[in-house]
Structures are given as C-alpha cells and as structure tokens.
Subunit: 389 residues, 2 copies
C-alpha cells in the first residue's frame, strides 16, 4: 500500500477467555469513509453513531473495535459509551472525536465497562504499526476459528481488509464487522455506491443461522493517496476497483460461511431461470438457511426434497412442474418428478468434499442468483447453548 494504515490490538478483559478483544485502525491522514450497516431495528449504539458520521460525510482517521460485548440494547448509557470511546481515542491520538468510528461485537444487553475500554485504548496506541493488521483482525474474532483477511495490490491502488463472522449471520443490507482500507482516489459518493453494490452481491448472500445481527457493519476507508484522481463513474480504473472490491467481499463472505459456528461444509446454492435476480437470490438464500437441508448436508445426505420444499415456501411465484434440481453435477429432480440417481455415490461425494453445490433451474426467466450457507452440526448447538450470556 502506497501509504500507511496502522493497526494495533489490546486485551481489555471483555472476553472471558482473556484473549485480545480490542482492535485499532489508524490513518495518519483523514480518510474518505463509506459504510453499510445492519437494517435491524434493534441496533447497537455504535451503528447509529457511525451512521450519523456517514451522513455528515465526515473524514475518518481511526476505528476502534471491541469484541466480547456488543453494546446493543444498552440504551442511553450505550450511546454515551460510544461517545466516550471516541473521546478517549481522539485525546490519545490527538485527532478529533468526529474522526473516530466505533464498532462492537459480542453479548447483547450488557453495559460496556469503560475503565476496561480506556485501559485497552491506552495500551493499543503505542503499538500502532503497519505490520499489525493480523493482530487487529484477530482481536475482533468471537467464535471464529480462523482469521479472515484479504490484500490486493494493483498498479493503481491497493486494498486490504479483514472481517469476522461465525454466529448471528443472516445479513440484510450490510453485515457483521468488516473493514477495508484502500488508497483509491475517489469521492465519498463513488466509494459508497461501490461498497453498497459489493456488499449486496457478497455478504447479503450468506447465512449461518438465519439470525440477523444488531451490530453488522462494513466500513471502507480510503486515504485517496492514489496518483490518479477519479472523477467519472465509468473510469476503467474505478471499474476495476469495483470489480476487485466485489471479488474481495465475496471471498470474505464465503470465508465467513466456511467458518460459520460449527460449520464443516459450505453450501453454495445457484438459482437460474428466475424472473429477476431478487427472486433468484431469495430462493437461493431460503434453501441455504433451511435447518433441515443444512442437517442433511451435515450427514452428507443428498436430500434434495428439503430444498424443494423451501423453493415453494418463499414469496416468489414458481411452477413446481418446471423445476430442475442438481446436487453437484448430478440431476436429481426434473419437471416436477424425481430423477433416478446413485444415492450412495453422491453421499460419498458430499462426505469427501468441503463444499456442496445445489443448482436450481426455475425455468421462468433468465435471471440468476446465488447464496452461501453452511451445514448445521452438533457443534453449532454446543457453541450456542454452552455460551452463557
């Protein structure tokens, strides 16, 4: 990256495990800021506060993210906690508090301990370093099993990013916590529209458990150090940026699903022959979030009937006598009737792979859609029942 974003992490003690639970992102220069947020009406205070800064098109220099406590459903005290976090960070970094974004993930309905927060920020600032991205990415994880970062360098711009996922993943409009840092030299409006579209075609297609979070957000910061200033939407450089941003969002979204709570297999659902992309995506996501189909895949059972039932349960008008379903490359349902296939062979195929592809053709139009889910395993139940709020 042509210029420096600096990263750091600290341990405040929000997590019971004693693992790092505070990440800090810092830019020496003010950045253009784009963001998309959860549409959940029950929202964390940080979501609302960051939205206000977005509306004002504020330039941003720092993001503070804590894990282990979502600071959601915490009322006015929750809002004050966000403001206080911004003030502490601004004071220590010698920037304006309106240049600081805050994000939280973890248990809902517990007040943030601001002493712990201050201690964490104080500890994090001196460690700010360009090489600490992985430490920051690690500090925002909750039940995630592994790091999810991306890094892309072209001759014109660079993007780095990291995200967390694991549970309460069924985003709408935005999702989870995800941060992109870039140097592309484009306006806030252009970056905002690029981010929105990339999120729509990536994070908004995934589901781990059908539960929409209170704290989802995807943030993109650009210090605009790119040599060429982009002024037109159809500039080939910007088109390339959008393409790459899309790809990187999709890559991280798929990683979130692969690392979904208790997940062993990614379920990719392709829907084609729909009247609109919206219809196709709705059906794809309905299948990808079916508990029954997810359990079948956990058992490597090619139980396509459970997927068929979900197709009919959406708001999309379908004709069951036209539907075609394939699992991986095996056709299992055609024109409303089952197709004979070797169940034992397909069972073995699913068992041996980390990904299952289900393809649905509605034969009603030309639009395509897709969604990503994961299997539902004993470990999902274990993680979410053993977890004491």
């Amino acid at each position: 990256m042509k210029s420096h974003f600096l990263y750091s992490s600290a341990t405040c003690g929000f997590k019971r495990t004693g693992k790092p639970d505070l990440a800090l992102i810092y830019s020496p220069v003010p950045c253009v800021y784009a963001g998309v947020f959860t549409t959940n009406q029950v929202r964390a205070a940080c979501v609302d506060e960051n939205r206000i800064l977005l509306k004002k098109k504020q330039k941003i220099r720092a993001i503070v993210v804590n894990s282990g406590n979502a600071n959601a459903c915490t009322g006015k005290r929750g809002i004050n906690a966000v403001r206080k976090t911004r003030e502490i960070t601004a004071r220590i970094l010698k920037i304006k508090s309106s240049e600081v974004l805050v994000a939280s993930t973890g248990v809902i309905g517990v007040h943030l301990d601001m002493e712990k927060m201050e201690k964490g920020i104080v500890a994090a600032v001196p460690k700010l370093n360009v090489r600490n991205l992985k430490n920051a990415a690690k500090a925002i994880l909750t039940t995630d099993r592994y790091l999810k970062t991306i890094k892309k360098q072209t001759k014109d711009f660079s993007i780095v990013g990291f995200t967390k996922g694991a549970g309460m993943i069924h985003p709408n409009m935005a999702t989870m916590l995800c941060y992109f840092m870039t140097d592309i030299n484009a306006s806030q409006l252009m970056l905002q529209s690029a981010l929105k579209s990339a999120v729509e075609n990536s994070f908004n297609l995934i589901s781990v458990d059908g539960d929409m979070s209170t704290n989802d957000m995807v943030i993109l910061l650009s210090n605009c150090h790119g040599k060429k200033k982009i002024t037109k939407k159809n500039d080939p450089l910007f088109s390339n940026f959008k393409k790459i941003l899309n790809e990187q969002c999709l890559k991280l979204a798929k990683e979130i699903v692969a690392d979904g709570e208790g997940a062993n297999k990614v379920i990719t659902v392709y829907v084609n022959g729909a009247k609109s992309q919206k219809d196709a995506n709705e059906i794809a996501r309905s299948i990808a979030s079916s508990n029954l189909f997810k359990c079948a895949i956990f058992g490597s059972d090619p139980n396509w009937g459970r997927a068929a039932a979900r197709i009919g349960a959406t708001s999309v008008l379908v004709n069951q006598n036209r539907i075609e379903i394939s699992i991986n490359k095996t056709l299992v349902f055609k024109n409303g009737t089952p197709v004979e296939f070797n169940k034992n062979k397909l069972n073995k195929e699913i068992k041996q792979s980390k990904e299952v592809k289900l393809t649905v053709n509605l034969k009603l139009g030309k639009a395509l859609g897709l969604a990503f889910g994961c299997d539902l395993s004993f470990d999902y139940v274990k993680l979410n029942s053993a977890y004491f709020s």
Copy 2:
C-alpha cells in the same frame, strides 16, 4: 360420540422401521368436510386433490393417510397414485372415490409403491373399529415421540382429533396432518370458517425448525348427527363449538411443539402492546424460531439479547427504546436498557422447567399475539442428519 367414526391402521412397509404406516378413518354416513392446507407452492399431490374435493364441497366418508413417504415432488405419477389410492379405498369400502381424502407424510421425492398401498388398505378395512383411534393416530407418526389425540364431549356435540408433527414444522395457513371428527350439525361454510380461524390461532403460531412442509393439512369431518341443526353463525351452541375447536387446536399445536424433533422445552412467546395481532404474531414467531435463542434455551441460558435482535429483524416497525422483555416472571429489559437480574437463579428456573415464557411489550398499541417454539438440541441435528433420504 353420538355416532360412529371407525378407525384402523396397517403396515404397508413405507417406513424402514417396519412400524404401522397407514391410517384409515371411515364414517358410515357422508360427512361435511372442512380443510385447510399448506400454502407451500411445492406441494404433495394429495394436497391439490383434497383441495379440489373441498372446492366442490364433496361429502366425505373416508380418509387414507400414509406415513414414511410424502408423495411430494412426484409429478403426474404422484397425482395418479392419489387417485389410485382413492379408487382402491372406494372399491373395498363400497363408496364413491370422490368420498375419499388422501394424505401423506414422510420423505419427499420418492414414488409411492402402490402395491404396498393396496396391500395396506386391504389389511386395514376389516379392522375398522370405533376403538381403534389410537392405532390410527399412531400410524401417521414419523419422528414423533408420542401420540397426540384429543377428545371432547359436550351435551350438544363431541369432537375427537389427532395429529402428528415433529419436523418440517413452520406452518403458514395450515399445517402438518391433523384430523377432527365431530357430529356438530352445521353447514360446510360454517365449519370451514370455524376451522380456518382455529388453525390461524393455533397451528399457524408454532414452529419447530422454520421449514414449511409440502404436505400440511388440517381436516375436519362432521357427520352432522347433532340433534340441533345450526343455521345462524351466532348460535351460542356454535360459538361454544368454535371455542372448543380453538382450544383443542391449540392443545394439539402445543403438543406438536413439545414433541418437536429433539425438543426438551416449549418456548412460549407472548407479545403485547403491538399495533395489530398480525404484527404481534410475526414478532412472536420470529423469536420462537430463532436458532440462537432456541440454543440458548437448550442450555437454560436466559439470553434475552438474542430475542431482542429478532424483534428488530422483522418487518414490523418497532421502537427499541420502548421495548420491555421478561423471561418467565423476571423483567430483563426495559425502555431500551438491560435490567439487573439474578442470572443464576433464572438459569436454574429454566433448567428445572419444561416450558419457558418470554413476554415482550412493544408499547406501541393494544394488540396481543403469541407463538410456540421449542429448543434446538443435539438430537434435532442427530435426527435430521442421520436420516438418509
């Protein structure tokens, strides 16, 4: 019951367990028939065929129900199987084939073996008996752990009924398989409206796993042997019938949830202070079908934050700063802020009980709603992953 409905069961071999899998209900006299069916667009042939008979207001004398095979997603051959089942039954019972209803439950996408079906019907007919209701109720079960029957006798009328549930339970409009036999002397229109309303306030409030079935149906037959012919909707006798039908539907609906696949605890969600009953029911059901909240209850964890997140994720407009949440009798969230409570005490309380009550007050209006769900346990995953389609 003043007059006889006769019941029987048989073993066709649809179930791999070798348990009874065919139920037969028979009335010596033609009965008024009311029914509500799944709104899933991917439907079993029997649903469509029964609907045609309902539209024609046909009188019914027999219902054949098989378990172990849903005869859904089976195309024209599936429709022919239903018609053939009706013909066989009509021939043996010496009634008209238009007097026979058919229902199926079990695996989707497998053709019915009509030789087995005929063998089963032939075996069932000679055993028709007024005392065989429990055998019939047993034969329609799949992963259910126990029988679900009701019996109610007033001086004016009687109702008996039975149902099955367990998995793929998230009904819309109608649900699962459920049969009521009565002698109330009322018109088809009156009975249809009574049934529809009872179903709306019972079966349509429950969810085991969020998966809407292809085969749901609730059927009510009346031989109209009741002494008094009811002609007016506001006849107190009919009002009493509707009240009792409602109660019995609710009782069976709750039993389905209690016996949901892998279920240990019933989750009852009350929503009040909504602008409409529809809004209240939508929120209640959204909470009752949250995988995360269901897992928390499996672990006896009073994790109300997961319920709060679901309130905001519905299409109902809410104000998070007004919401109040209680678990059993403990207030945990008020005016958008958490209320201090003894978590260990509530954890113990949940652990020791078979039912958890979550009450939400939206403080937006006066409408009430409710929903019933169950916890999500290891056994749900086990049942639905080990099950080989």
